[in-house]
Symmetry: C2
Subunit: 237 residues, 2 copies
DNA sequence: TCGGCAGAAATCGTATGCAATCTTTTCCAA
DNA sequence: TTGGAAAAGATTGCATACGATTTCTGCCGA
């Protein structure tokens, strides 16, 4: 999987920050697994693809590097991150710490509009599960992450929201690398249960369900080190 | 307070990343309050001060902007962040969520070397409290933050560690803006109590103490909006 | 055939130039 | 004096150029 094989919508050269737009495109591609972990993202290529100079492409890659989605090596370039099992565990440890609290905060702030937004989101999620094929699978992983992001938005703390954006994006990478099965339908059920608790204003229950939900996601991963770490490093694409 | 009044150690033009070195210098200056909130950080000036091109200075400022220490406005430039009371509350809400968990994780991983490091840190903290003068006050705030950063390092989760680095840095800004008194000596006592609990392996107690500690720090702030938000915005340096 | 070395090609790090945008100053009329 | 418009100045956004570093390639000797 090479970045040159991807097609990206043109960046509207309007007043918006173009580097940010490119970052968003690339992030989507990484989270959707259209760009595999380890793929090289050279400044020149990214620039050509989006029709901007290396300066702008570089800025976009720097942003992704801050988010942990891209790893940059001096004088070598940027690569889609290839999280280690240990990193994967830390991602989920972080989520276990943060998301139950976010659920509690969100429970106290849910508006009818929020409930409606969640229902729309969950419907879409359900549709992707029903469909078959790799495209649907990708959309499904994305939608599953969107549930958590929506929750973070409702919680109303922009700092935590940004942390969650990073954690959800990194989780997608981790699931891509270490995911075992299609536990997703189970996750969908759990999302619905969490929404019920939120709608009922039952913060405690929402929080507990969230904790279990994260445990379930992580339990579906196979985080055993497959071979000696030296070999793994050497093979790192 | 203008950035041009500051003196910075020269960046060693060696193999290290120069933008990163500049970011660290600027972050220290912001956290130490040598650069006041609202101070303009123009690319050209930063570049001249550190003897690098605007390209490198720009990269450093972009990093600080990601950390929330610097706010950038398109076509206008970068300014030391000026967090609103609401933002301040969110910083502390985030810390209340994360730090008790970090304390628990750290309690299970403390080595004798860690304990020694904490003791050294707390001694230094104590020294700054004893001293008088604005310089000592700055060092004291910095040292107080270092306690929390050390704890995050011991906890062993690099993701959470990075989150904490951001939160501690932003807290320094918030304290600079909204801090009322020298509650710091009280904070120092609390740090010592937390260390005792950690040393005893009492994770629950360490966690509870941490939560109270954060509450105390926030309680020392005066987060009332001083004037109409419109006026405040207008006066924003 | 294989390892390794030299040159070529690719890629990155950084400085600099130019256009676009914003800010400040100047100046004139009310 | 005050308001406002226009010019001058400063600063950013972006592209491009060039040296430095790394990677690739082809060739040679063992």
């Amino acid at each position: 999987m090479n970045i040159a094989d991807q097609t990206f919508p043109a960046i509207d050269g309007a007043n918006e920050d173009r580097a940010q737009a490119i970052r968003d495109q690339l992030r989507d591609a990484i989270v959707d697994r259209r760009l595999a972990p380890g793929t090289k993202l050279s400044e020149g290529e990214v620039g050509t693809l989006f029709d901007v100079s290396r300066t702008v492409a570089r800025a976009a890659l720097q942003m992704l590097s801050f988010e942990g989605l891209v790893r940059t090596e001096r004088n070598r370039g940027a690569f889609v991150a290839n999280p280690s099992p240990e990193e994967a565990r830390q991602v989920f440890a972080s989520r276990r710490l943060i998301e139950p609290g976010i659920a509690i905060a969100a429970a106290g702030r849910m508006t009818p509009a929020d409930v409606a937004a969640f229902k729309t989101q969950l419907e879409e999620e359900g549709r992707f599960i029903a469909e078959r094929g790799p495209t649907a699978r990708r959309s499904e992983i994305k939608a599953s992450g969107d549930f958590h992001l929506l929750l973070a938005a409702v919680a109303g703390n922009v700092i935590l929201q940004r942390f969650m954006e990073e954690l959800v994006a990194r989780s997608s990478l981790v699931i891509a690398l270490y995911g075992r099965s299609g536990i997703s339908s189970c996750g969908h059920n759990e999302h619905m249960q969490i929404l019920e608790a939120l709608e009922a204003g039952n913060a405690e229950r929402a929080s507990a369900l969230m904790l279990h939900h994260i445990d379930h996601i992580e339990a579906d991963l196979d985080l055993r080190v497959r071979s000696g770490p030296a070999l793994r490093q050497a093979l790192e694409f």
